[in-house]
Structures are given as structure tokens and as C-alpha cells.
């Protein structure tokens, strides 16, 4: 019996004993009414919340069907996937908290993971239960009203995993009666949403090659789709799809093409075998064209182009895939032959405005890309932060690396720095203001390069980067951008670069955090700060919103705690 199964059994015992004692589910355990009554109470309380009118029509505590995921907009009280909807908008139609009352927000409860390191989760909320993850592959289900745990799970990880950038996890996917976790030892696990018991556990790949999972998977139809991390180890990147019921792998899309496949010619010699191109942020999905969009990360080694001459497809690329088969429909490469670790692993956001069917990405390389979603053709690319790596564009309008932009042995100053003009933290698109909001980082670094021999499972950077010696400190900003033009509408300056994502809501609000520990509510139209709360630790996560008992909550992870806020 594996260690995780032992843990699962323990969890099962604890939960079942608790359930026997209570003879009821989580709602009743908190001394509250059962779901049908709950619904009536909600109905009474929330009539003013037009957006919540369908609250009880979806069968509270029912299975999360693929149709419910498609219709996530009909369940504003729930947060059914990492970005809130398939379009990747991270937008909540709840409006109880709005520009007129946001100043009165108060903390309602906090949940402590009791773990160190970066806490990057965006929780899901389904019918009153919050499902989150934590450092070291923790997962948990909480009563969304009180934060009290229903079950808690922690994977027993091998002692020799060495994930590059923290023992982090960004969240779960839910489908049917299961939640899905990608682990730091490169397994994919289905947990029983009611108990936390492990239902299936499959090995995606041998973690000792430097592979891991850190992202929240994406559930589409009956599949669980996720991409691998490991761009610092010379992996061969891929995106996998698993049958949600059985864990059987249905397809794998390798992000570096093998001999005979299109794009293979963009790699020198055998460099494709260790070419990196991970896919460590959750993709998006357009049901109308049945296309799922996945951005990929840097080619390996990240800071050395010598030895992998060529564009290095499909590194730093937006992939349009058929979710049923994993077949590539089109691709768009943001940074060709990258030497600055400019992973394109930002959530690609689907935006429709009139006749425009766009997919937009504020890329780590500092450019805001507007792409025709049907064809993958670039419409425009303009900087949204300071950029020096590129000073010109090719015939298609793509930024190309400047002659003096490459790393050198002793180091070469380039903007944006290695952490990028933004990073994995989510942007948001607000269909009311029609603006796109993104956390921008104004930091330039000194990039060095040196030869390095590849050894499986070992760090494979080809040297490093350094903070530059500029007199002025690094800073950051929350920026509001017109996604049809790339034009900057407003910005709020952060004292230092932050790793917080952004949430927008129908209350006319945008929520985001900063490295100084503040979590803030902004007026979406103007950027005016309406409220702030000091969390006591930098925010390394993307916020979300849900509703319970007629009350809207906003949740964000900071330090080792998941905080929730609501009106008094």
C-alpha cells in the first residue's frame, strides 16, 4: 500500500467517523439547514442579486457535469474552474460588493495550510464547498461559510523531488464527483470530492527527469487536461489529457516535435529531446470551435541559445488544440529562440467584442498580443511594460530579438528581467468596462550565459540572471488595457513588483494584491483604491469570488492563509 493510500484511508476514516456522528453532510454539520431549505433561504435573501437568480436551479451538491462547466455563467455563486470560466476572464458576475460599499469589506474567515513557501492556489467553490490546494501538494475541502475543513489531503512526496521554483500548486479541477490534482512528483490524482479519498492515481512521467505538475488542471467534456513543469531541467514538455472516470491517458501533445513532425526543423540536432517548452499554466477553451488554448514555456537551457539554433517550436507558443484528440489546429510563437526565460505561461484570455473574436495575452516578454482566435494570426503586438530585448518586428508584426539583446558571459542588462513583465499570475477581463487588467513588473536584470552539459534531472539553465544595479528600485503596477488596441487606460503603481493576479467583478471592482501584503479593491473604471487589507505576507496568488447564504465573498491566498472577505 502506498503512502498516499494510507493517508487517503486515514482521511476516509476521519471523514466517515465524522459523518456518522453527524449523520449529515457538511451543511448540517455547521448547524445550518439542509440544501433545500438552504435554497429557500437563499431565495429570500438574494432576490436583489439578479445574478444569483439561478442559484438553486442547478441542483446544489449535484455532480459537476461538463454542461455545468460550459454554463458556469449561470452559477455565479460558484467558481468552477481555475480562471472562473472557460474564457479565462477571472470575472465574477456577483455585484453585492460594489463601488458603493467596497470600503466596508471585512475579513470573514481564514484557513491556514500551516506550510511554508509560496501559497499560489485559486480555490474552487461548488455548492457551498470550497476546494483548494496548498504547498507540498496539499488539497482540502472547506465549508465555504466558515472555512472549517471537511477533508484534508497531503501527498506523500518522494524525498528527492526538486521543483524549480517552490513546492507550489495553483489549484484543482472538478468534474463529476471528483477533484483533480497534478502533483510535484508528476502524478495526476483524482480525489473523491466528498471525502478526499484517492480514486485513481496515475504516473504521467518519471519525476526524476525534472518533471512536475504545479498548475490547476482544466476539465473539458470527460477529460482532465494539464501541462507539465520542468523548463529548468531540460525536459521534453507536453500537455496530457486523462479520462476523468478512469485516469486513462487519452492523448499527449509533445511541445517539441520529433523527427518527421512539423516544427522539428526549428531545433538543432537532438536539442528537441531536452528542449523544455513546459506548459505550466491552465489553458482556456472555446466551446463554439471546440478549441483549447495552451501557452508554453521557455526552451531549455533557458539562458543559452547556443546548441539549439532555430525558432525552437513550440516553446513560448500559444497552441490551439482539439481537446478530443490533442491535434494541433494552429500555433503562434510569442518569443522565438528565447534566451531570457520568457515563458509564455500566462492565461490566454478569450474576448469577443462585436465581430472581433480575439485571444489576447499580456506576455512575460513585455508585449501585449492580440490574436485572431480563428486563425492564430497576429493582429497587433505592443509593449505594456519596459522592453529592451526587442527593438524591431518581423514581417508578421512579431517582436524579434535585438542584436545586443542576448545574454553574455559576464552579463547583459535586458528588460524585462527574468521574472518577466508579468508572470503566471492571472489577468482579468471585465466585460462591463471592456478592459483587460494585468499585473505588470518593471524590473530589468542582467542575463549571463555559459556552456553547461545536460544531465538528466539536474538544473539546466546555462547560467543565470542577476538583479541589475540601477539606482532606482524595481516596481510594479496594476494596468488597465484596452484589449482591442493594447492602449493603457490607467495604472496603479505598486512599490515593488508583485506576484498577485487580478479579479474583476460585476460590482464595478477589480481586486489584486501586492508584495507588501496588501489586498485591495479598485474601481474598475478609474483605478481608484476603495479598500485595502494588510494580509501580513506577499500575495502570490490570483483572487476569486463566490457566494454563500446570499453573501458575496472574495478570497485570496497570502502567506500560509486563505483569506475571505465580505460585507459585515
Amino acid at each position: 500500500m502506498t503512502r498516499e493510500r494510507v493517508n487517503a484511508r486515514k482521511n476516509a476514516f476521519v471523514v466517515s467517523a465524522w459523518a456518522t456522528r453527524q449523520r449529515v453532510g457538511p451543511f448540517e454539520a455547521q448547524g445550518k439547514q439542509a440544501p433545500p431549505l438552504q435554497c429557500r433561504r437563499w431565495m429570500r435573501r438574494v432576490l436583489s442579486l439578479a445574478a444569483m437568480s439561478l442559484l438553486c436551479g442547478v441542483g446544489a451538491q449535484g455532480q459537476v457535469t461538463p454542461q455545468r462547466l460550459l454554463d458556469s455563467a449561470k452559477e455565479p455563486q460558484n467558481w468552477l474552474m481555475y480562471s472562473g470560466d472557460y474564457a479565462g476572464r477571472r470575472y465574477s458576475t456577483l455585484d453585492q460588493i460594489n463601488i458603493s460599499n467596497a470600503h466596508g469589506l471585512v475579513p470573514k474567515w481564514a484557513y491556514q495550510t500551516m506550510a511554508g513557501g509560496k501559497f499560489e492556489t485559486t480555490p474552487l467553490v461548488v455548492d457551498g464547498v470550497l476546494y483548494g490546494t496548498g504547498q507540498d501538494d496539499r488539497a482540502y475541502a472547506l465549508d465555504a461559510r466558515s472555512g472549517r475543513p471537511i477533508w484534508q489531503y497531503q501527498r506523500a512526496l518522494p524525498a528527492d523531488i526538486r521543483p524549480c521554483c517552490g513546492r507550489v500548486n495553483r489549484g484543482l479541477a472538478i468534474l463529476g464527483d471528483k477533484v483533480f490534482l497534478g502533483t510535484l512528483d508528476a502524478h495526476v490524482i483524482a480525489l473523491d470530492a466528498k471525502t478526499g479519498n484517492v480514486i485513481w492515481d496515475v504516473t504521467s512521467v518519471d519525476y526524476r527527469g525534472g518533471y512536475s505538475f504545479t498548475l490547476a488542471p482544466l476539465a473539458i467534456k470527460n477529460l482532465v487536461i494539464l501541462g507539465v513543469s520542468g523548463g529548468e531541467y531540460g525536459i521534453r514538455g507536453f500537455i496530457d489529457a486523462y479520462d476523468a472516470a478512469t485516469g486513462e491517458r487519452k492523448w499527449r501533445f509533445y511541445t517539441t516535435p520529433a523527427p518527421g513532425e512539423p516544427g522539428h526543423e526549428t531545433w538543432e540536432g537532438d536539442s528537441w529531446k531536452i528542449g523544455g517548452a513546459p506548459a505550466w499554466i491552465t489553458g482556456t477553451y472555446d466551446p463554439l470551435t471546440n478549441t483549447t488554448f495552451w501557452p508554453t514555456g521557455n526552451p531549455s537551457p533557458s539562458n543559452r541559445g547556443a546548441g539549439r539554433a532555430g525558432d525552437n517550436l513550440y516553446s513560448n507558443t500559444l497552441l490551439a488544440l482539439d481537446p478530443d484528440t490533442g491535434t494541433l489546429k494552429w500555433h503562434f510563437q510569442f518569443t522565438k529562440h528565447d534566451e531570457h526565460d520568457y515563458d509564455a505561461t500566462q492565461v490566454p484570455v478569450i474576448i469577443d467584442q462585436g465581430e472581433k473574436h480575439l485571444i489576447v495575452q499580456a506576455d512575460r516578454n513585455g508585449f501585449f498580443y492580440i490574436i485572431d482566435r480563428a486563425t492564430g494570426k497576429l493582429i497587433s503586438s505592443n509593449p505594456y511594460a519596459k522592453v529592451t530585448w526587442s527593438t524591431s518586428k518581423d514581417a508578421e508584426g512579431r517582436p524579434v530579438t535585438a542584436e545586443n539583446g542576448s545574454p553574455t558571459l559576464e552579463g547583459n542588462r535586458v528588460c524585462p528581467g527574468a521574472a518577466g513583465a508579468t508572470n503566471w499570475m492571472s489577468p482579468t477581463y471585465d466585460p462591463q468596462t471592456k478592459l483587460f487588467y494585468v499585473t505588470a513588473r518593471e524590473q530589468c536584470d542582467i542575463f549571463s550565459t555559459a556552456p553547461q552539459t545536460y544531465e538528466a534531472g539536474h538544473a539546466y539553465y546555462g547560467s543565470a540572471y542577476f538583479p541589475n544595479d540601477d539606482a532606482e528600485p524595481f516596481w510594479g503596477a496594476l494596468r488597465a488595457i484596452d484589449p482591442t488596441t493594447g492602449e493603457l487606460k490607467w495604472q496603479w503603481k505598486h512599490p515593488s513588483p508583485t506576484w498577485s493576479g487580478v479579479l474583476s467583478t460585476a460590482g464595478g471592482l477589480v481586486f489584486s494584491g501586492d508584495a507588501e501584503g496588501n489586498f485591495m479593491a479598485f474601481e474598475a473604471a478609474s483605478g481608484k483604491v476603495l479598500w485595502h487589507f494588510q494580509c501580513g505576507a506577499s500575495v502570490y496568488s490570483s483572487p476569486m469570488s463566490f457566494a454563500m447564504d446570499g453573501k458575496q465573498y472574495v478570497a485570496v491566498a497570502a502567506g500560509s492563509a486563505l483569506f475571505t472577505f465580505a460585507l459585515p
Binding site: Y461, A464, P467
Partner: protein, 292 residues
């Protein structure tokens, strides 16, 4: 047996029982490194170690291990936290509590290193390390007199608990910064204020920016920033009083990166005295620094 390298482990993976026992043991028992570097003097290992160093250490310790504004110059023969191979291994693997030196793999920035890789890094450090202990021409005893006397450093800086607290405590600075950096910080303190590491280690990021505020009552305070966010300012004024202000309640707020510390040019601090002061800072954390 607990110092096995990754490749050693791979060699026994076909013995499932032994491997399981080893893994279980590793999980249960603390790992004790061997005392001697298995790669000592191996030029090839030093080369591999340089790659690891660039990826994992150079961020603070600089290319070539020459140190800089964030981490000690490791080419010095004498290492602050122990000079033996086992000391270096411990320092790298476990970090130095209370300092910016994190345990191996815990920076949340780079990758962790295996034991073999740590030894390779140590082999590299040995290959660039100077043979003789650091010799500086200055007179540390006279430097101490200057520090507490005519140069007036102690008005704002502390060594071993004695002195002011407006500026950084300099007890460990001599061993934590390169000599070039120390000289630059004295001759031209505003060129680079004290450097933080990164926001992942916010606790080390005080940069001693100069701040001047006028509160709602019209009272003026000047000093250095201790903590600041978009809404609040925590500062120490020139009388070493701690203040917390809400920015929107201030009448005025001005912050500059022009240091409160005067630039000690040749006239204020002749070259000879500068050398003496450097000599003092280099031993500030020893008994000499404490005046014994």
C-alpha cells in the same frame, strides 16, 4: 551510506528491497554529509560546479564568486561560517539562520542541489579561492577610533551593539560584502543604497531611503524608511524615534534615494583613514571589533 549521490542511488534501483529501505531511512533519519569533498581538486568537477554556482549562488555571490552588494566574496580564504569542507557543505545545505543565506533549494527562486552538486560547487569555490588570508594595509585599531570618534560613523551605525541604529548595523558587513563595495558605500553612499535581495525575502529589503514628512499638525520628521507600502509609512527619524504614519493623513511626504549619510570624500576621510576604517570593518565581528 547517507551521503550517496544521485547516481549511486540510480545504481541500486534494481534492488527494490534495498532501495526501499534506503528511501525509508532517508525519510526518517537526518542526512549527514561526509566530511570530505569527494571531488576535491577535480578540475572537471569544478567546471560542473561553476555551472551550478552560476545558477544557484551567483545571484548574491556574483559571477566568479567575488561577492558584491548582496553576498560575501567567497574568494576570500577565510569563510565566516567555517572553513572546512564540512562547514561549507553545512552552510550551503542548511543555510545560515538569521541571514539572507537560505537553505539549499529553499529560495523559491532556483532549483535545489543534490549532495554531489553541492560538493561540485565547493570544488569550484576552492578553485577560485585565494591562497592567503585577506591582507589589507589599514590599521584596524585606528579604524575603530575613527568609527567611534572623528569620522562619526557610530552616530548612525552600530558594531557589536554599540552605536546608532539609523543606518545599517555594520557588525557583519565586512565579512558579508566585498571590499570594493565597502569603499563605494563610504565614498558614494547614495550611488547604491543598501540592497535588498528580492521580494521573496522581504524581511531583508530595508533600503534606508531618506524620507521627510510633515504630519497633520505641521510637525516635520526626517529619517529613513523602515517599512512602507502604498498606504502606510514606518520610519525612524534622526533622533531614532520610530513612527508609523498613514500616508493620506500626512500634509506632505517626500522620499529620495539620496542617502542621509554624507559622502566621505578624500577631504573628509583621507585614503589612509579609509584603509584603516576598512581594516576595522573587516574584523568588526571579532573580538577586535568589540574593542578587546
Amino acid at each position: 551510506m547517507f551521503s550517496r549521490t544521485r547516481s549511486d542511488l540510480a545504481g541500486i534501483r534494481f534492488l527494490p528491497v534495498a532501495a526501499t529501505c534506503l528511501v525509508v531511512s532517508l525519510l526518517v533519519l537526518p542526512v549527514h554529509a561526509q566530511d570530505k569533498n569527494p571531488f576535491a581538486g577535480d578540475a572537471q568537477a569544478a567546471k560542473v560546479g561553476e555551472s551550478q554556482f552560476r545558477a544557484n549562488c551567483a545571484f548574491c555571490h556574483g559571477l566568479g564568486a567575488r561577492g558584491g552588494g548582496r553576498g560575501p566574496d567567497l574568494t576570500r580564504a577565510q569563510k565566516k561560517h567555517g572553513n572546512a569542507d564540512a562547514d561549507l557543505f553545512r552552510t550551503i545545505n542548511e543555510g545560515v539562520p538569521g541571514t539572507a543565506m537560505p537553505p539549499n533549494g529553499a529560495t523559491q527562486q532556483g532549483v535545489g542541489m543534490t549532495e554531489a552538486e553541492i560538493w561540485q560547487v565547493i570544488t569550484y569555490i576552492r578553485s577560485v579561492q585565494k591562497k592567503a588570508p585577506l591582507q589589507v594595509p589599514g590599521n584596524a585599531a585606528h579604524g575603530r577610533e575613527l568609527f567611534y570618534g572623528s569620522a562619526a560613523c557610530a552616530n548612525c551605525h552600530m558594531v557589536q551593539g554599540k552605536g546608532g541604529r539609523l543606518g545599517p548595523d555594520l557588525t557583519g558587513t565586512g565579512s558579508a560584502r566585498s571590499i570594493e563595495y565597502l569603499i563605494d558605500s563610504i565614498r558614494n553612499p547614495s550611488r547604491r543604497l543598501a540592497q535588498g535581495i528580492s521580494e521573496a525575502m522581504k524581511e531583508f529589503s530595508q533600503e534606508y531611503e531618506t524620507v521627510t514628512v510633515v504630519d497633520a499638525g505641521g510637525q516635520k520628521f526626517q529619517g529613513v524608511v523602515l517599512n512602507e507600502d502604498n498606504f502606510t509609512l514606518q520610519m525612524i527619524d534622526t533622533r531614532e524615534q520610530l513612527h508609523l504614519f498613514e500616508k493620506d493623513k500626512l500634509r506632505s511626504f517626500e522620499k529620495t534615494r539620496e542617502s542621509l549619510m554624507p559622502a566621505y570624500d578624500e577631504r573628509m576621510l583621507p585614503e589612509k583613514n579609509l584603509q584603516d576604517l576598512i581594516a576595522f570593518l573587516l574584523v568588526a565581528d571579532s573580538a577586535v571589533g568589540g574593542g578587546q
